[in-house]
Symmetry: C2
Amino acid sequence: MPNTKAFAASDAKTPLAPFSFDRRAPGDYDVAIDIKFCGICHTDIHQARDEWGGSVYPMVPGHEIAGIVTSVGGKVTKFKPGQHVGVGCFVDSCRTCTECRKGLEQYCAVETVFTYNSKDKDGHNTYGGYSGKIVVDENYVLRIPENLPLDASAPLLCAGITLYSPLRHWGAGPGRKVAIIGLGGLGHMGVKLAHAMGAEVTVLSQSLKKLGDGKRLGADHFYATSDPETFTTLKGHFDLIVNTVPAANEWDRFVGLLATDGALVMVGVPDEPVAVNGFPLITKRRTIAGSMIGGIAETQEMLDFCGRHNIASDVEVIPMQQVNEAFERVLKGDVRYRFVIDCGTL
Amino acid sequence: MPNTKAFAASDAKTPLAPFSFDRRAPGDYDVAIDIKFCGICHTDIHQARDEWGGSVYPMVPGHEIAGIVTSVGGKVTKFKPGQHVGVGCFVDSCRTCTECRKGLEQYCAVETVFTYNSKDKDGHNTYGGYSGKIVVDENYVLRIPENLPLDASAPLLCAGITLYSPLRHWGAGPGRKVAIIGLGGLGHMGVKLAHAMGAEVTVLSQSLKKLGDGKRLGADHFYATSDPETFTTLKGHFDLIVNTVPAANEWDRFVGLLATDGALVMVGVPDEPVAVNGFPLITKRRTIAGSMIGGIAETQEMLDFCGRHNIASDVEVIPMQQVNEAFERVLKGDVRYRFVIDCGTL
């Protein structure tokens, strides 16, 4: 049973603090990984603080894991020691339902085993990537292209796939007009990916503060949603709008920016229901939809795509000891664009 | 200028009454049609009574038109006298925008010229099918298969295509579970069409009152939405739900009945905004969408499909003089399943 250091939340109110625990002994199909880096996702904060309910403590957050294989079980065929690998938001699923068979394990009809704050099939709580080691079934481990820096690759495992999947599913590519609402950890990945896919990319940000960054990341256009003019100029313009901002909950305004057959896709949602007017949906066959991360095969496809296009996240690497301060800065939007914990500092 | 008898609304408050007017002199590309039958759509009532605003009087409603060609212009190639033809919700569009070029004239980016209560390209108000004759550009005239009864075919031009288009667009067919909310003029066509496409069809009706009819029309299953049990039994069940009932505005409850990648598609919408919870959209990549009638090519495809499958509407044929009484009965849901006016009674 490999023991590992970690940082854990002991309850909803206390800052994360040093913790240690045993990972399971690697089985025949397991990959043992030294975690080098782990991204900080807003979800980590929601769950550490029990803002969605049902949190189980102690909790070791972290589902943007990048590391190096240290050993593999006797029946593992896909990985070998020394490889750069990633682990994303989930580490298992039922493997037999319609969704799992389609490679949509994130929507598993039985139960997706999330990387932390979830129950593994053996009944134990799962612990995430704010730790030094992890043991994961080879079918839920991803290859990280060797040309990508490992620290900046960590956020691809959640932020990257969260944007890649809807962009692919709703056909971002040449000749398609794509908007990304919000230029944060998720949004900045959306801009890079949509641009690399060949779409015409527009950032819809609250202000023009990040305009320079947006253009540098690959945006063709940049508009402020605080300017009412934006909503007349861009009326009926987009084939796809991906909304990364839960607070951007005036969905009707964004629906108005969709062309015929356009889709407004949420990857972050407000806690409260949103009032939606049906008429603008009908008159242009528009859709409102949601999307959650991506399946294993699609996540691998995304990583390979990023390798080919030399895409990773813009990151600020911090030692584990600064995780609580980083949480506060995430809440203030004070990060360009993702915190990544150097797990070697544990 | 062919003169024609009609029934018209002279304002929002007065019952429809006899009226006569001149149709335009048929041009080179026009088809002159003797209207034999015209269906009564709920939209006719909304517009005759100015419930959506902007109504122009006198108004001759009617966009479910079935008739026989009497003459054609010198350059008409698609039609000849004696043919059974139909005219639906629109009689022209810009013909050059992206939507028109894709055969989505109903979503024309410039202006769809609706069959009544609209402005034709020559600047005149359009008058609909509660009349004896109509003159329409051949590109906006549909062939009605000769094996279908003309009276029961009239409602295909709106009710039929309104259901056919979303069923096709969202892939109703073998192996797909489709629900139709509401068994009225629209819904009963949805059941017939989805059944003929090979889908497994469920009716979601307020009560079980129409269960026998539903089964006869082709439904495999029938559930009452007034029974809360329905929403637990059918949780996560459907690939597609088409909502024909504006009053069925608890969209969240219906979203809960969708499987992964399922779509809830509105073809009728409530006047008021609807509160929508984003979370169930995200966790199963579900969509909420709208759909409005169908394009010309798709309407022809629908009519040909109906011809092959011997599908028409269940109708109650009435003389024009009973149109006001029929309006009242439509509002009470007292029709099985569509009123069709015999325009020969004018």
